[in-house]
């Protein structure tokens, strides 16, 4: 089967592309969508203490048609997987996925020989852009994940990376 040609690799409108990437990075609207306890941390990130809105990402859109980034916050059961997949398919390009927490990354504590109920990582269903480890990750970690996604879009880091004290 012939691989489709990606036209964006042939024709480049450099300045326009940069501008669009910058705009998209500054207006990442997440989908209002939480699966488990990580969603509580996601809500805290929207609250006054951590305030995701500083980066223009507090507009949680309930409809997948208007959302740009899907924050998969929680365990995905096999029963839930088709619904999550549908939501991903209903989102319009360009779209990104953040896997938040150990369950969304790999199944987390629910992986053991013979388990039959949990999807082991959301990347079994669709491609993921940013992984945020933690059980659950703190709201700062989610903000760091959004900054990492912005870096992926624009190629530039917004703030210097904070090194933990030795």
């Amino acid at each position: 089967m012939e691989t489709p040609v990606d036209t964006s690799q042939i024709v480049q409108f450099a300045a326009l592309d940069d501008l669009l990437a910058l705009s998209r990075a500054n207006s990442l609207w997440p989908l209002t969508f939480g699966l488990a306890c990580c969603a509580i941390e996601m809500m805290a990130a929207g609250g006054p203490r951590f305030d995701i809105s500083r980066f223009g990402a507090e507009v949680f859109r309930p409809s997948p048609r208007q959302a740009d980034v899907m924050i998969v916050a929680g365990t995905i059961n096999k029963k839930m997987a088709p619904a999550v997949k549908t939501l991903y398919d209903q989102m319009l390009e360009p779209k990104w996925v953040i896997a938040m927490g150990n369950c969304a990354i790999s199944g987390g504590p629910f992986v053991f020989p013979g388990q039959y109920a949990v999807v082991e990582g959301v990347d079994k269903l669709f491609p993921v852009d940013v992984y945020i480890p933690g059980c659950p990750p703190r709201p700062e970690a989610l903000i760091e994940g959004i900054l990492a996604l912005e870096q992926k879009l624009t190629g530039k880091r917004r703030w210097p990376v904070v090194k933990p004290p030795q």
């Binding site: 501008l19 998209r24 207006s27 223009g56 048609r65």
Partner: protein, 331 residues
């Protein structure tokens, strides 16, 4: 320079100015709303894009414009595309008769108030069409809600405006403002010697304006917690952006109407600055109140919304109508 004063050229200029006014207001009122929401909830709000967040609307609009466009299968294609235009164009048309100052009005017609209300009622039909065309169950439920809500609130609004019309005796908006010359107690809001319930009529007008523009606490059109995103569920990218613009255009229109009818329009209490400054001051004070109300009150239940209109607002506005006609007849 004489061609600039020719009527068609002047109207074209006025049209461009109104479109720019609506566009800029929509973009920066969204920012004001998000910043305001931040301040009401004790957080900074968007402040990273540009200095203090001033480029946030630019980023949002560029992103919305570059988002994929789809018409979902099974929708009514023409109506689906047409509905956002039908929502925004009446609001822009109505702004043509709003007097920003004594001379700054696109077209001063002597039935301006009638025109505003007749075009303003197209809004509900356009939202209903968008819900119908989307072929989505949430959109249909939301469209039905919008229709019953708008019909319910059109009645007290019109009754209140009729009360005011009996006082002013004219539908010419510029003439209505001219009658309120003098100090602030000459504004229609405080004309208690004509009708002691004048402040009440303003409150009813403001509540109805909130409900007509589908703003919280009456945002039944886009009830996220119950209907995914209401009538906007299937709209993506700039189709949704136009609905958003239309919401803010309608707020600007409703608030400027409130300013003209009740708060003395471009009349200044001191004669200090030109009229347009006073008009914009009063307009943005009202718009700030709209934002304030949205982030202060939770959404009402739907039957409470209808009860408020049919059981409270309509009887009170009917009473004010009777009272002011009686007072006009007696004194």
């Amino acid at each position: 320079m004489s061609f600039l004063t020719a009527e068609p050229v002047r109207l074209l200029l006025a049209l461009v100015c109104i479109m720019a006014f609506v566009g800029l207001n929509a973009a920066y009122l969204v920012l004001a709303e998000r910043k305001g929401a931040g301040r009401f909830q004790r957080r900074p709000g968007p402040n990273e894009a540009g200095y203090g967040g001033w480029l946030q609307p630019v980023a949002d609009v560029a992103k919305l414009l570059s988002k994929q466009l789809i018409v979902p299968p099974g929708t009514d294609t023409i109506l689906f595309r047409l509905a956002p235009l039908m929502v925004i164009s009446p609001a822009m048309m109505c702004l043509a008769v709003i007097p920003f100052s004594q001379t700054l009005v696109a077209r001063n017609i002597n039935v301006g108030l009638l025109m505003v209300f007749s075009f303003g009622s197209i809004n509900v039909m356009a939202i209903m069409l968008s819900g119908w065309a989307s072929r989505n169950k949430y959109a249909i439920i939301s469209a039905a809600r919008v229709v019953s809500q708008n019909v319910a609130y059109e009645i007290p609004m019109l009754l209140v405006v009729i009360t005011l019309l009996m006082v002013t005796g004219t539908m010419d908006l510029n003439e209505i403002v001219r009658q309120q010359a003098g100090w602030f107690w000459h504004w229609n809001l405080f004309k208690v010697w004509v009708n002691p319930l004048m402040p009440v009529t303003f409150v009813i007008f403001f509540i109805c304006m909130l409900a007509e523009t589908n703003r919280a606490p009456f945002d039944m059109a886009e009830a996220e917690s119950e209907l995914v995103a209401g009538v906007f569920t299937e709209y993506a990218g700039m189709g949704f952006g136009v609905f958003f613009m239309a919401e803010y255009a309608n707020i600007v229109l409703g608030c400027s109407l409130g300013t003209v009818l009740f708060l003395g329009g471009w009349q200044s209490p001191f004669g200090l600055w030109p009229g347009v400054v006073w008009f914009l001051l009063k307009l943005y004070a009202l718009i700030f109140t709209v934002i304030w109300v949205r982030w202060t009150f939770p959404r009402t239940q739907f039957y409470n919304l209808l009860n408020l209109s049919w059981k409270i607002l309509i009887p009170i506005s009917l009473f004010t109508l009777l009272l002011s006609s009686a007072m006009i007849k007696l004194f």
